[in-house]
């Protein structure tokens, strides 16, 4: 699921930048042709409305899996603001614990939860932009068409910021990439017990 999502996000961001360029929200921001997907506007649109199905279907599968197996509750909740602050403090003093890769610290929990919420919001605003009349009840939650575009854009910016950190850290620890491809460490228990090798999927 992670790598399908990676592909979908790559398509959605690149083609989204192409679509954005046709009518920019900020006069100072134009995405260079070298980083957008689609030479012409229609190609960008074609990619975007193809990628959206992959992103949404895969995302729904992931959320269903996370809720049904209890993974989200086990791995990501609860997360307290005080813990997050404490973890940030530890990180700044280079005292972060990395003893157990299967355990997310409070900052990781907050970021992974946050990026999931951004993922949901970008889909909802995307639907509102795609069908502001058919889904007018949804679009009304946000306001004007340009407001929805702005929120959709800010969600994209949040995802890009997340990816910069996410990918940098993954590249810094190349072995974590290997673990993501081959399967991560087992949570607790006896690693040779195949039946227990269940809980941890690739890091989202």
């Amino acid at each position: 699921m992670h790598w399908i999502n990676a592909l979908a996000i790559f398509i959605m961001i690149g083609s989204g930048w192409k679509i954005y360029n046709d009518d920019v929200l900020f006069g100072w921001l134009h995405f260079p042709d070298s980083v957008v997907i689609g030479k012409w506007a229609q190609y960008g649109l074609q990619w975007h409305f193809f990628g959206m199905w992959i992103f949404v279907v895969n995302g729904l599968c992931y959320l269903t899996y996370g809720v049904a197996t209890g993974r989200f509750w086990q791995k990501l909740l609860p997360v307290w603001p005080s813990e997050v602050l404490a973890t940030v403090g530890d990180a700044l003093r280079f005292r972060l614990s990395h003893d157990d890769l299967t355990h997310y610290n409070a900052v990781q929990k907050a970021l992974y939860l946050g990026i999931m919420l951004v993922g949901v919001l970008i889909v909802i605003t995307g639907l509102s932009l795609w069908k502001p009349v058919q889904f007018s009840e949804l679009a009304d939650l946000f306001g004007s068409f340009q407001t929805i575009r702005l929120i959709h854009f800010l969600c994209m910016a949040a995802i890009v910021a997340f990816l910069l950190v996410h990918i940098s850290l993954a590249l810094l620890v190349p072995k974590s990439l290997a673990a993501m491809v081959a399967g991560g460490p087992v949570v607790g228990g006896n690693p040779s017990d195949a039946d227990a090798a269940s809980e941890i999927e690739a890091t989202p």
Partner: protein, 263 residues
Amino acid sequence: MPFRTRIRSIIRTRKSAGRSIAAENRALVEHIDRRRLLRGVVSLGTLTMLTGCDVSENDFVQQGLRAVSSWNDGAQATIFRPNHLAPMFDVSQVVKPPRFNAYYDIEDVKPVDGATWKLQLNGLIDDKRPWTQAMLDQLPQQELIIRHICVEGWDYIGQWSGVNLRGFFRRIGADLKAKYVNFICADNYTESLDMATALHPQTILATKYANETITDPFGYPLRLRTSTKLGYKNAKWIMAIEVTNQFTETFWSKQGFNWYAGI
């Protein structure tokens, strides 16, 4: 919960990667190497640059993308709500004049002579007698203050009035079970609507903007305004309307834009 522990990923190795990763990388994690980080970021940049060579134009890829786009036509028709009205706005929000956009520049607009203009009717229509401007003005008028959304991303509120297309179709005996309505325009532009959209209560043949006769370059003497499609579906300078079961590609759909283009 037993069901939880029995789910096993098919791509996961049976042998665990173990916790050795943490131990082996501790030094690395605890001492973040700036040079390495920089190299990683540069690699990422290079990766994104790869999109610079566009695969969209490749025949095979383009065929696939167009197939998805056609499938999206069907998906949009499925979620279309025939009687769901688009939001209407207050007259104070109307932008004057409306915003011009076409496949050519504003200087190249070729006005149509309203005095000699007649709307031609073709295809599955009982009464194909052409209509003059004066005849259309005699019909009941409908006003829409709706949002115009361009595929490029901009939008504005416009105040359009004219003849309800469903009412007009009933009057001329158009086959309401036909699939498509084609619009042929003076500027060689072509557009078409699915019948469900043509029969939507907020689809009109517009002759006025903000209570004044439409001026050029906005499509005088007759243009389409529907609340449920993107801007480019709203044909301007309409010369003929055809009701048909035969699908014909339109000006923009030929170039890869989505045909249905619903909003």
